[in-house]
Symmetry: none
Subunit: 270 residues, 2 copies
């Protein structure tokens, strides 16, 4: 579990303007808490609640929030969906079903990318609505949105719980322009942890090969001289492509020396 | 809740070869069930379990699976992590912490993209490991993997529950090459920009609707009271999705005022 007191400030300092997450008539406090946790995981901090069924504040929400207290304590309460979106300039309604309404439908990826674009072209206050568990948003709620957001899943099994829907949408938003990635990943999506050791140079690997091949000559590993070039090349190829560190090379020098010693001792005793 | 009996067949017919999801020493049956549900949401169907703490099969897993019975019933049980990955050719270990092990670290996006690439270049059996709740994978588990998978989240609050981690990784895999998307979205990246005017707020549009609906009441636009809710909603839906600017709203206020005036004058002249 991560620290919480500075979690919103930290997220807000780092991230672009995140959309408000609007839970319309959510039923279980537990689900509200899990939504807050999923939001904060992704640096999304503004929660709005329209008429939560079991009242607000909620103890079960706090327990399920697993530390996302700042998001829950700062949640804003509204009587109607219209009130909850009043100050927003662009609102997406998350829904799986086709509503028979003329409205653009975006994937989570495209819809959250659009929020970044709107923010980049001058700050715009955006929000994403989610309906109650099971029933989802009503048509009157959806009518208040600019467009529909849909998460493209296995059509044979597409039902998500509320917190999972909030997680996937928040993560899609984060992943479109992820400032946290830079801390871990310098310039690409791939990084390598090397610990204290540097990558081995080709020369170090070459020396290791010389030791090994010399020992294999002595031990009678090569049954005929014709085999030697091909087998040597295959062994060399393996060590050169294996991503060795200088420490790995030192360790293997010791391993080979030990094996050679054993064999010599063994041989001497025979 | 979606249909289940044909859910695996449907997913397997549509999707590329999905990675096996390997849960190492999971504790709660409920979490295993929620993982199965998250997997099937994303068309990922092969579940492997290493020594689940509370035994297997599990009733609580079935209940939490919310219909992902095929995934749970087909789950394979193993005594050790080594056994569970024995037949795989490429394995990623999901972990948040730096293990002090020399190993490449991929984002969920990059790591799952690599699985697609490996499958495209000749089918390779791939897997993704997840550790137990709270403690995560042990170093001896991680050492069996080719590389590390990391989900880049808010570093001030990065703790995910097991099913949410499985969901984000499975969704990242699906989203890299999503066959389900094509059914829904011909062209999903539609953007609109607004020129010099600010976008209208929902409140400004709401005020415009109030003016218009009041005028339509007066003018006898609604032939019967039954019509009014549906027609009002359709009109409201149009104005809210139309991407109005503040200027558009001002213009339409003038347009409606003018129409009302004309009708009044017209009525007076009759």
């Amino acid at each position: 579990m991560a620290g919480t007191n500075s979690s919103i400030a930290k997220a807000e300092g780092k991230t672009p303007l995140a959309p408000a997450i609007i839970l319309v008539r959510p039923q279980l406090g537990q689900n509200i808490g899990m939504c807050a946790r999923a939001m904060l995981n992704c640096g999304v901090t503004e929660l709005r609640l329209v008429k939560p069924r079991d009242g607000w504040p909620s103890e079960t929400a706090g327990a399920a929030g697993a530390g996302a207290d700042d998001v829950l304590n700062n949640a804003k309460l509204f009587e109607t969906t219209a009130d909850a979106v009043k100050d927003l300039e662009f609102v997406l309604a998350t829904t799986a079903r086709n509503r028979g309404m003329v409205k653009e439908i975006y994937t989570a990826e495209a819809g959250t990318a659009l929020i970044h674009q709107r923010n980049a072209g001058g700050v715009q206050k955006c929000g994403i609505m989610f309906g109650p568990e099971r029933t989802g948003l009503e048509n009157d709620d959806v009518a208040l949105a600019d467009a529909i957001l849909n998460i493209p899943l296995n059509p044979g099994f597409s039902s998500l719980n509320l917190a999972q829907a909030v997680l996937l949408v928040s993560y899609s938003w984060l992943n479109n322009d992820n400032p946290f990635k830079e801390e871990l990943y310098a310039e690409s999506d791939i990084t390598k942890f090397l610990g204290d050791s540097a990558p081995a140079t080709k020369d170090e690997i070459g020396n290791l090969m010389t030791q090994l091949l010399g020992a294999l000559d002595t031990s009678g590993f090569f049954r005929s001289p014709e085999q030697k070039p091909t087998i040597s090349r295959n062994i060399s190829n393996f060590f050169h492509r294996a991503g060795m560190t200088a420490q790995d090379v030192r360790t293997l020098h010791g391993v080979f020396a030990s094996l050679i010693g054993k064999r010599r001792r063994g041989t001497g005793e025979e």
